[in-house]
Symmetry: C2
Subunit: 212 residues, 2 copies
């Protein structure tokens, strides 16, 4: 008799980084390569932009609906950015986890802190850092016409964001996309073998012992 | 400037399994493939067997010396098996960890429990299970001339050992040596990225922020 896979609860994989450290490229690669990983779709009050697809890029709602979602505790975390609200709906995440699928969250340290409170053992957090100050500086000079003042502001923001590394479980230094994706994949592979996520273990070991 | 690697403290990787689940083959493969991993060499009071090399297979001492090591708290764990004493010397393990090397321990659940008390955050424990009752039964029938009574005793012992799975961090079901080695390698790769092992992070982030 071939044993069926051991039932597993999914994980919430949080990827955070300062601007310019490459977290979005890493998330995309993971989603492309691993069909068991899905992206959390945020809900927002901001207007849909050209090219965006409702339900894929965001779930678009008005401010009244957003406030109702907060009051009903339907959001795992939410934040206001440039006058618009953004949040993470709880129900689709809970459904994915209970089906053994893993959910990626591309969020900043504030969002990660909020998630931590409701997620507990489901959360696996990874902080992505640039390999060096020079490389970070190069990545923040995204447009040739940016003034040195704008660049300095971005660097100050990145510096502040980086100071939150002690709040994360794992640290990945992004020297190359290929190497970093492999490192995050190793984290995902290992975390899938965590005893506390293997909700079918009691039953599996009982079958090993009894031969039934 | 290319950044030097971030200083890391090594881990103590404990591999345990019931008899016949294949942990020794997995340990050997890991040691062959990863030069940063070493095996903990136990100290024992039993006689050296033909083919064994002192200092490689075991450190051989007499009972007086072994008792002195216990009293001086030079052992991380020790046990008496068939009238002989076996123990894990503390100093070489501490030296390896402080140099960023990882140490494998091929020990049973009693040894793992003792290690846990002194190792704390350094410990990463993996429990290896056979894929099915039939496969375990097959592996326990190692010699054709063994009586059914001997086999039944081995199965009872394996069954008792398996009940300790909830004490481990990770569970690997050994369906094939290749797959299991890859899984343990993923665990090692991930645990090397654990924030709490990266003792050089404060300094690394300071360099990222200050550009010095």
């Amino acid at each position: 008799m071939s044993d069926p896979a051991i039932a597993r609860r999914g994980m919430m994989l949080v990827l955070s980084s300062p601007s310019g450290a490459g977290k979005t490229a890493i998330s995309r690669e993971l989603l492309d390569r691993d069909s068991n990983v899905t992206m959390s779709v945020s809900v927002t009050t901001r207007k849909k932009r050209p090219g965006e697809v409702a339900g894929r890029d965001y779930r678009f709602v008005d401010a009244t609906e957003f406030n109702l979602m907060i009051n009903r505790q339907e959001l795992l975390e939410h934040a206001k950015v440039f006058g618009n609200y953004y949040g993470t709906p709880r129900a689709p995440v809970e459904q994915a986890l209970s089906e053994g699928r893993d959910v990626i969250f591309d969020i900043d340290w504030q969002g990660a802190q909020q998630l931590k409170e409701s997620a507990r053992d489901d959360l696996v957090s990874v902080f992505i850092l640039p390999p060096s100050h020079d490389e970070l500086d190069r990545r923040l000079h995204t447009r040739a016409q940016d003034s040195e003042e704008v660049i300095a502001q971005r660097m100050a923001k990145a510096s502040d964001e980086m100071s939150h590394w002690p709040e994360y479980d794992y640290i990945v230094v992004n020297r190359s996309l290929k190497e970093s994706v492999a490192q995050v994949q190793a984290i995902v592979a290992a975390e899938r073998l965590r005893r506390r996520r293997l909700i079918g273990m009691t039953e599996f070991v009982k079958r090993l012992q009894d031969g039934q």
